[in-house]
Symmetry: C2
Subunit: 342 residues, 2 copies
Amino acid sequence: MRCKPVNLILVGYGNVGRAFFRLQLEKRLLARRRYGLDIGVFAVVEVDGVVASKKFLDETSLPPGPASDLERSPLWKKNLPLDALFRAKEPGVLIECTPTNLRTGEPALTHIRTALDSGWHVATANKGPLVVDFAGLRQKAKENRVALKFGGAAAAALPTLDVGLYSLAGAEVKSIEGILNGTANHILTRMGEGMSYQEALRDAQSKGIAEHDPSLDVEGWDTAAKLLLIANAVMGSSFTLQEMKVKGIAGLTPRIVQKSAGEGKALKLLGQASREEARFKAQVSPVALDRDHPLFGVSGTNKGITFFTDTMGPVTVTGGKSDPRGAAAALFKDIINIFRPA
Amino acid sequence: MRCKPVNLILVGYGNVGRAFFRLQLEKRLLARRRYGLDIGVFAVVEVDGVVASKKFLDETSLPPGPASDLERSPLWKKNLPLDALFRAKEPGVLIECTPTNLRTGEPALTHIRTALDSGWHVATANKGPLVVDFAGLRQKAKENRVALKFGGAAAAALPTLDVGLYSLAGAEVKSIEGILNGTANHILTRMGEGMSYQEALRDAQSKGIAEHDPSLDVEGWDTAAKLLLIANAVMGSSFTLQEMKVKGIAGLTPRIVQKSAGEGKALKLLGQASREEARFKAQVSPVALDRDHPLFGVSGTNKGITFFTDTMGPVTVTGGKSDPRGAAAALFKDIINIFRPA
């Protein structure tokens, strides 16, 4: 079978970027066989330079270490502008994996705008640029007739957007409820078992689940950012972070968590978006879920989302790896879905 | 906006067919606005005749009653062959809603083969033809470069196939576990509350959940048929019903169900398909699920499925209406996804 070549530029070589580079090498043969796509990375972009080649990069093209080792590669070029890469190849997909900034969206925002204007599709694991300029980026993608995919940004391998946009096509999503942050959910689960907030947080940090600065996770802003992307994409809302009421779990006592459990409920950090006529509402807060709520059993680092629809009833998705490999797999999925036939 | 016309032929005007006809009328404006598709039915086909028009049929085109009333329509034509309809219009989608026959697949099998050979796409709510000739129909669709969609047959509004094929693109599905029959699950849930099998069955029948002849549901064959479709589509297996080990719930006593509950487990009628190297295995049987199994909480008439993957971990979908309107919504979704841009 003659395969369609799909050129990738990978921007950002942190944990997710490295996991993505490895995963697309592992999956190259599968993509050729199952989807007829010859997918490969020809450039890896970091802050001060680029590893680039005319052919797809392979295991031997990159030093085994982190981003700071890239400059040891014989293919390293200092300060090569992204524009030059966009012109170097038949347009494919920009894979955006730089660190998230929920305030400015940069540097990803500029990368994505330039890619779309250059006729390149985009798949991003970084939610910053979409939180900052959701409508603008979608409009730009539409004008340039290219795809802007962000499944990897919305909840890694949990397929929130695919289900909302594809599986529920033709239905009206009246409301969305989601447990979208694995760190906060892990902490609440541990508190339900009797730990204090501080103990549960330290437990999560010692296991690599929570970051050294866990504020985005425990104060609810990571949940809010994901909810914003999903609601805006699926419900057609135009939320900004500023408009959302966000309350995290930092002030909670084990007593409150255990009180819910004693009543047969489960306390969860829940993102909720809903529509009444043309009015949209969105908030993030701890909510005690009844036993028959479809997200009741989502515990530990697991995540889940329920779409309440007019014609299909409630549809819930749970699970999906939250680690860098899960995010990488979501990016790879988005690439396949840009190019596969219907 | 200029919309793309999508011509539909609806075959079978039973509960699902009627629900589909109503739903596509309700959703016509939404399909135009949101997807740029002008979707409409121009022919409704029943055993001994057809209601057909040059334009899309509307509320006033069909008598309000069941299939037997269709012949009262002024647009009724007796014994019009399906071929004539395929030639009458720009090819669109055949919507197959005739009664299911898991042994012969007919009459749907002939309808679908003819449609595919005439260059028409197919969306079916009837699993019979796919259970009987999965590989042959897929091959025929491929040769004719048309889509063969069967989301409505695999589990109505529960998006099993979309998730398996679209959301998990690029991942290897190593195994599938599913609670795929709402009637059996309802009966088991009631037995867990203390009813005998016979009491629970009568309860389901009195609520319209179980049919007068519930054998396909309680003996596991409905679950097996759905599992066959999903596994063959998503895992690339080629199961036939004959190869599957199928055990239903008819012989179970409340004691067995309650024993599971006493051990903190939940007894479910589970379809399981897995792959070890190139060997596939599939079976249907009552299984006691641990509390941390993602399908543990799926009770009553609810359904759910878990895909265990290499790169994305386990991904679970639950919920989705099981009634004729849910199946109709799944058919409508499949139509949109045939024609929408990526």
